[in-house]
Amino acid sequence: MATHFGTMIDRKLVAVSDKNRSGRTAREASYAICSLFVIAVCGYTFTDPFVVTLAGYTCAFALFALSINIILGGVGEVPLGQCLFFGLGAYGAAIGMGKLGLPFDVSVLIALVLSVVLAAIIGVITLRLTGAYFSIVSWGLTGVAMVAATNLDEITGGPLGLFGFPPIEIGPLQLSDPPTYFAVTATILLVAILFLVALRRSPFGAAMDSVRQNPHLARSVGVDVARVRLKAFMLSAPFAALAGALAVPYTQIVTPEVFSVANTVDGLLMVLLGGAQLVIGPVIGAAVFTLIPQAMNLDPNIRILLFSSVIILIMMFAPGGLHQVGVALRDRFGGKTDDDRSR
């Protein structure tokens, strides 16, 4: 009963009083359509299989960045351990296919379910902690996972990892075929974005927003802060696991390195680069983070130097990420002044 009530109110208020929200929806929808367009153009112009596969991998990793941002942009914690779920997805796919002889899609589904269960368990334990404590403890758990993956040779293939998979397919779709791989990951990414946009507009999205901004005040107006945080964590896990699984057709190997914090840091940088407060910010970040160095043929060391500098500059001058830079430029040159509404 009350649910309907809430929904109605949301809709009405959004429609009647909060025009700037619907403006945001329109803007995000247009971004989504643009990116779809870019995706399609990329898919057709770049015929080099390596570039197309890399684009597919970028979509998979963007999914991971979205997962990170459910926590960072959603409830305001820094999830340094998020690669735990990424690795779970990757190993889930690899073990399912390589050891259990299951099809890729079935293996991935199992991994997704496991990731939610694992997130529930870890969340109950770690989410009592906030700030640096949460980050560090969740990071510590990835260390445990890495040790386990290295030593459980029978299951994980030990330090060498798992490789030499049968052709990876989802039903009739061959993920070893670069254009198909790209189309599948890009579509999943787009669906994920639309889901997250809807989530943000939902009462749960508002609850997450209140928790991120001011947990004490949120609690005092009746938000179950612990539950919101736990739900956000459980929701973020399958996104990361799916990302990990979808990365396998690109990497063709899964080693304990997937549990490295460097993986999470890459995802975090994408989020910060693109902007944490916009749903597709992390996707923009992922595209810039992976594709530009590739297109420019950058040396990995130069890449790190360049990105570190860019991140520092962005954090200093535009904490809202590239999106904020874009809005500022548009306001400057487009003569628009809807100042505080750019979020």
Binding site: T7, R11, S17, N20, S202, N214, V221
Partner: protein, 261 residues
């Protein structure tokens, strides 16, 4: 249910002690606030007033002592339950959701009172138009009460400090609380704003019990029937504001405290 009002205080605390490691923030505070009262709590900086509020509304668990709200013991109740049972609180420091608009600030509380089912969220039902209108009317009413009708789309963080304080009261009002805890609600307000604020509290007071921590004595004098003075975590006196202010211990405590400010 049939117990006489006077026998069941709205807020009742017994021997509340709170220690943080070696610091004793509260050292045996008891109080009874009757339904419908506007009750002041005053004391120098660091006296333990905010800590007392946190404990009374269940955010902080006391080291010892017991709290009853509307007659029920709140030990073990999660804070959001207490909030949903009609207790609202404003905060001394971060009083609003700074990144959201005024309107969004008012909506946060309401979301929490709904049970969120995924299906219901996606397919809104048409049978609750009445409730919906009542809620919209509530939003409008609160916006008018706090005088932010014209500022609904401004971000809370860009509002002047005194205006944010009024918004904080508005956020608390959205849950239509029976008991309100206001922690230094008039801090940072100029004379005019304070006068408006006093009028606001008078307007919302009927049917509610209000506890106010405030350094501005004129606010306490104008609003409160009784006030409790806390010094160094200990209750000194409870009485009418003009009485407590002339209490010798209070005078000493305040003369001491004035030096810090």
């Amino acid at each position: 249910m049939t117990i006489a009002v006077a026998e069941r205080p709205a807020v009742s605390a017994r021997d509340v002690v709170k220690r943080y490691g070696g610091v004793t923030a509260l050292n045996g505070v008891s109080l009874d606030v009757q339904e419908g009262e506007i009750f002041g709590i005053i004391g120098p900086n660091g006296a333990g007033k905010s800590t007392l509020f946190d404990i009374l509304c269940g955010i902080t668990v006391p080291t010892s002592g017991s709290i009853r709200i509307m007659g029920s013991e709140i030990a073990g109740m999660p804070p959001h339950h207490i909030a949903r049972s009609g207790v609202a609180r404003t905060f001394q420091r971060t009083a609003v959701f700074a990144e959201s608009t005024v309107l969004e600030n008012l909506l946060f509380g309401r979301h929490a009172s709904f049970h969120h089912g995924v299906l219901g969220r996606i397919f809104g039902s048409k049978t609750f138009v009445g409730d919906q209108q009542a809620f919209q009317a509530r939003v409008e009413e609160v916006l008018k009460l706090i005088g932010l009708d014209g500022e609904r789309h401004r971000k809370a963080g860009v509002l002047a400090y005194g205006v944010q304080r009024r918004l904080a009261v508005g956020i608390a009002l959205m849950t239509d609380p029976k008991i309100m805890f206001l922690d230094e609600p008039a801090a940072g307000m100029n004379g005019r704003e304070t006068a408006d604020f006093i009028a606001l509290i008078r307007a919302i007071a009927p049917g509610r019990t209000i506890l106010i921590v405030e350094h501005d004595m004129s606010v306490i004098r104008q609003l409160c029937g009784r006030a409790l003075v806390v010094v160094d975590g200990m209750p000194v006196v409870v009485d009418a504001p003009h009485q407590v202010l002339s209490h010798p211990e209070v005078v000493t405590a305040y003369l001491g405290a004035d030096d810090d400010e």
